[in-house]
Every structure is written in structure tokens, then in C-alpha cells.
Amino acid sequence: MTVESTAERKPRRTGGNQRASAKKAAPAAKKAAPAKKAAGTKKAAAGKTAPAAQPETDLVQLLTPEGKRVERPEYEQYVEDITPEELRGLYRDMLLTRRFDAEATSLQRQGELGLWASLLGQEAAQIGSGRATREDDYVFPTYREHGVAWCRGVDPTNLLGMFRGVNNGGWDPNSNNFHLYTIVIGSQALHATGYAMGVAKDGADSAVVAYFGDGASSQGDVAEAFTFSAVYNAPVVFFCQNNQWAISEPTEKQTRVPLYQRAQGYGFPGVRVDGNDVLACLAVTRWALERARRGEGPTLVEAFTYRMGAHTTSDDPTRYRHDDERQSWEAKDPIARLRAYLESEKYADEAFFAELEEESETLGKRVREVVRSMPDPDHLAIFENVYADGHALVDEERAQFAAYQASFADTGAEGEGK
């Protein structure tokens, strides 16, 4: 199978069936974990600043770090008919995403990209949630959702344009219902909410997913998105990847209680899922998406995970965090975990892993080639698409610019000196 066809694969292929007509009852909120956890605030109410990190029993987990299945009936049902092939698909998605990410990181080191924001460690959160989406759903990412982009069928090399500096967003959001990367923290939560309001107006049963980070949870825009989505009962899932860090700031700088609890106060459920457990992320996101489709409004999913690498290639995490933290998270690696399960259940054999290794090499090679041959944009691109209907000043400046540049062509000089 070529990499190309992977990218074009429909989301539902590895992610399981559509569940437009929810055949199983959703876990009633009364039984669901988030509602029970309300007690968690009590600690803070008594004056103590509860740690943002709660014991892992808070987590919805279906697969332990050792690769053992866990009983969680209320979410289990969302993945109970998953086939070995689908499981291998999830594994493949995570592995190839990680490979792509590593390739991008090294392309940055080689000077082919100006910057890269690695998703290392967050593959399960992104593939699990991404594969839960349906083709007609719409996704609003941050700048780190390379795995979700993969699930949506966006050609991964398209993600590199903005990091190389040839554009500010290199794909058509409507081709894969995957919006452009948003750098200004939290803004997209409102776009997702508005889009979801539009879906509801259209009477469609699609849903929308807004991705954001633990740091973003502090932005007013995210709070306003909670308010609007609750008031209009918009079919949106807020998928917060709590990777424990916002650049150098740990989650305690953003909140004194677990982030999933934020949702309660706005009148919709929040749940914390093991963000390194792809099965749990798939199940919980499916649950949340089905709530949305059924007209039950927004949900907040907090995927508890870890940013294994630097914030971006410009960042030096040794300045602010200890290596042992990272090491403790290595034991929870999302890919190793699924591999252990696949192997113990004999769902995958050596041939599968070997073939995948080859596929991964092919992907890496292709990414390198495509990036290196990405042309610099035409200079006049500065003036393109500033407006849809044109603008007299842009026209005037474009003409002046063109004439100015042409004046160098005459003398053989090559544009601006520096």
C-alpha cells in the first residue's frame, strides 16, 4: 500500500463504523465518570490547591501501559466490536505519524524547515480522537495536530509549508473538513463553536471537534466557546490535550483543579481520558461525538498525555523540566502499549511490523523529497488573496512592487539588498 493511498483513506476505514444511528445507549451522564468526579472540587473548596494531576483512577483507560485491557463498561461499548484489522490500523496510524513527525524534526535541523512543533507522545490522543470522526465532521486544530490531520486524510507534506515558511496554511480546509492550523492560542474554539452552530442550523447530524492545549484553557476565547456552545447546544467536542506543559509552564500555572472539571460549570459533561491509550481516546471521543449528533450539545474531553519533546524546535526544555518526568512517561508510550496488546493477542505478526517499517521508510523518503523540492513562493504572492473581491490599495501596491522589482531585473541585480 502506498503512502498516498493511506493519506486518502477515509477516516472510517481504521476508525470503525459510523455511528450516526447510535445503536447503543450512550452512558447516561449519571453513570459517567465526569459527573461523579464533581467531588474533586471539594478539596479546593476547602482551601487547598488540589494538584492538577489527579490519581490515574480518574482516567478513562481501556488499555494499561502494559497493554492489558481494562474494564470500563460505559465506554467499552464504543470499541467492543473493533476488529484486529482496525487495531492494526490504529497502530499503523500512530507509527507513521510518529515517523512523519521525526522526519519533520530532522528536516528542521537540516534547515529545510524554520520550525517544527512535534507531537511526540501525543499520537494516541490524536489518532484515537481523529479516527472517531466521521468524514462529514469538521475539525479545528491547533498547530500540533499532525496525527489528526493524518486521520482526516490531509497529505502530511501539506502541513510543512507553514513551518518551512512558504505559506501560512497550505491546504484547502474544505477538502478534508480540517481547518488550517491556528497559532493564536484558543481562537479556534470559537470558530469550531460557530461552525457547529451552523451545522445545527442546517439540521445536519455532523459534529465538530475543537482541539486545544492545557495552556489554551486559560484563554477567554475558550471560556466564551464553552458559553456559546452550551447556550446554543452546539454539536461540538472540545478535545483538550493536556500534555502537562505550555512551553515552560506546567498545568498548575493554568488551573488548580483537573481541567475536565471546567465543563461542569458551563453545564456540559467533561471527562478525562488516558491520552496515551488510543482505544480509550477512540471510545470517549465517539461517545462525545454521538452526544453531539443526538443534539445533546458540547462535551469537554481532557486527554491526559505528555509532550515528550521540546515545545518546538526553538525550545530547550532542559531549562525548565527534569528528565525523570519524561522518563516516567516513556513507560506509558502509546505505541508500545498497543504493540504489546497486538502481540499478546496475536493480532499482528512479525510480517506486519516489518512491512510497516518499510512503509515508514517510504513515507520518510517521500516527505524529505517533497519538502526539499517545495519552491519558494512567487514574490507577488505577498499581494494575493488579501481580499476576495480586490482592493484598490493592494492593486496599487502590487503594481508599484512589480515595477520596482522589474527595475532590478533590468540591471541584473536580484532584488532587495540586505
Binding site: N167, L180, H191, V386, A392
Partner: protein
């Protein structure tokens, strides 16, 4: 209705109604725009006739209003958003300049953002703080936005039609103290282009350029000057981004003198750009430097001082005198 004499507020109301009728994708949203019909009644009766799904009372959060309008636009809707007063647009400023203005370019043209943001602006109504500001330069400086302001009911009707039809985001500044001024509106006319300036009174001795609330003041100043035997040309700019410099240049080449009038503070106001550019274009024509009459570098003052703060007929004529003295 084809031709009718309407107050500006009503003309915009009729225009919104027409848009809601013609295009099912048009939405009206904002604080109190629904049941109340807006604090200035510009959206009066629209929710009653088009329902809560299309005329939407929003939570009290301007960033949320514009941010969700962007999302609705991405879904194919054409939201017309109301910001209740000029001074309350700033919580939405980030969404407007960072997202709304740039998203079309960011997407290399693949998506369009047909969002209109209506802002009742300017002073002269004796209001409390934040209810009388003129922040248009803060939007016109930002690429990706278009910025317009009607000065009369006919433009109120037609410019709103054109703004809604535009595939670009349009910041639509409504001169609130002219809401009650009536003018003839011909809903079957062929409108002038949205971004074209208009010579609203011809003259030969000097040009006054204004927009929105100040057009009336300039027309009155020109009338008063005429009695003193001076012939002033008045140009209604109508659009602050883009600015129709050709029309202004044409006028200045004839009159050789230019005074720009706006309520916004002079320092870095739109008059600065007009002065700079017209001086460049008409360097050998100008008999006097371009003069500017506008607000001072101070917060908009309390109501009892606004008469002193706002440019009025006398200050305009004083500038004309100074220009002619060169």
C-alpha cells in the same frame, strides 16, 4: 417600496430585512438584536419575522460573537454582527484583526469570510463613556478588512446591501447621531460602488473630505461659506479602506486646497493617510498643506464637553480660513 423617505436607522433595518428575505444564509447576531430590536432599533422586528434561528440574541461576549460568526461563515453563512457601541468592539479586536482579516489569505483564498460587523459609532448624543468613539483607523490600518461608513439613509440601505454581498469582511460604521436623519431611499436604483467616494457638493476654492457623521457638518460649513462667497467642494469618502484617492485627487487638483474632517483623533487618524497620500499625488497642485480637523489626543470627553471636542462648523471654517491664508 421603491422610493421612500427614511431615517438612516430604518434604511439599514429595511436593508437587513431585504437581505434576510433574499438569502437564507444571512444571519443577524449580537447583544439585544432580537426581541429588543437593538438599542437603536436597527434590527427592530427582524427576529419576529425571521425567527430566533436567524436573528440571534447572543451571550454578552464580543469575542465570542465575532469568533462564532467566523465559524458560521466557514459553514457557509453570511453573518451580520452588531457591536452595541463603538467602545465595545475591543474585546473582539483580536478575532477581527487576527482571524477574520487574515483567514482568507492564510487559506490561500480557499475560504471566504463574508462577515459584516455593524458598529454604531461617533459622538454627539450625550452618552456616557465608551459610547461615542470613532475607532475606524484601528481597522483601516489592518489588511484584510474593508471599512465603510454611510452618511445618509440611501447609502445606509445600499452600502449595507453591498457589504452583505461582499465576500470580504466589512466593518460597517454607522454614524449613530445621524440615525434619525431622513433621506430618500430608492430601493430600485443602481447603487454607486461601495468603495467609491462621492462629490456631494461641487466647489472651487477648497475641498472638504469627510465621511459618516461629519459629511453633514461639512455640507453645512460649505453652505455657510457660500454666503461669504466661498465655494467649497465636499467629498463624502464613504469608504476608509480602500480609500478612493482618485476622486479626492481629482477634487484637489481643481481646488488646490484640502481639509479632512473626522471625529476620530487627528493623530494617526484617517486624515493622516489622506494628507500624506494626497500630498504625494498633488505635490505641485497644493497651495497649502492638507489640514486636518478632528478629535484631540485625549479620551472622548464627558458629554458636557463633547461640543467642544467634536469638529463643528466653526472649526471647519477656521481650517478653511487657514488653508486659504497660505
Amino acid at each position: 417600496m421603491a422610493v421612500e423617505k427614511l431615517p438612516l436607522a430604518k434604511a439599514i433595518n429595511v436593508s437587513l430585512r431585504t437581505a434576510l428575505e433574499t438569502d437564507p444564509k444571512v444571519l443577524v447576531m449580537g447583544e439585544d438584536v432580537g426581541k429588543l430590536g437593538g438599542v437603536f432599533r436597527v434590527t427592530d422586528g427582524l427576529q419576529k419575522d425571521f425567527g430566533e434561528d436567524r436573528v440571534i440574541d447572543t451571550p454578552l461576549a464580543e469575542s465570542g460573537i465575532v469568533g462564532t460568526a467566523i465559524g458560521l461563515a466557514l459553514r457557509g453563512y453570511r453573518p451580520v454582527v452588531e457591536i452595541q457601541f463603538d467602545g465595545f468592539v475591543f474585546p473582539a479586536y483580536d478575532q477581527i484583526v487576527t482571524q477574520l482579516a487574515k483567514m482568507h489569505a492564510r487559506a490561500l483564498g480557499k475560504i471566504k469570510l463574508p462577515v459584516v460587523i455593524r458598529i454604531p459609532y461617533g459622538g454627539g448624543i450625550g452618552a456616557v463613556e465608551h459610547h461615542s468613539e470613532s475607532p475606524e483607523a484601528l481597522f483601516a490600518h489592518v489588511a484584510g478588512l474593508k471599512v465603510v461608513s454611510p452618511a445618509n439613509a440611501s447609502d445606509g440601505y445600499w452600502m449595507m446591501q453591498q457589504a452583505i454581498q461582499s465576500d470580504d469582511p466589512v466593518i460597517f460604521f454607522e454614524p449613530k447621531r445621524r440615525y434619525w436623519d431622513r433621506a430618500e431611499v430608492d430601493t430600485e436604483a443602481i447603487p454607486a460602488p461601495l468603495h467609491g467616494a462621492q462629490v456631494v457638493r461641487p466647489g472651487t476654492d477648497a475641498t472638504l473630505v469627510a465621511y459618516g457623521p461629519m459629511v453633514k457638518v461639512c455640507l453645512e460649513a460649505a453652505a455657510a461659506a457660500a454666503e461669504e462667497g466661498r465655494s467649497l467642494e465636499v467629498v463624502d469618502l464613504r469608504s476608509m479602506s480602500p480609500i478612493d484617492f482618485d476622486t479626492v485627487q481629482g477634487s484637489v487638483e481643481k481646488t488646490r486646497r484640502l481639509i479632512v474632517v473626522h471625529e476620530a483623533p487627528v493623530f494617526l487618524g484617517t486624515g493622516a493617510e489622506i494628507a500624506a497620500r494626497i500630498t504625494e499625488r498633488c505635490f505641485y497642485h497644493l497651495e497649502a498643506p492638507v489640514l486636518r480637523v478632528g478629535g484631540y489626543h485625549a479620551p472622548y470627553p464627558p458629554a458636557r464637553l463633547e461640543e467642544e471636542y467634536l469638529p463643528g462648523l466653526d472649526r471647519v471654517l477656521d481650517a478653511v480660513d487657514r488653508s486659504l491664508a497660505y
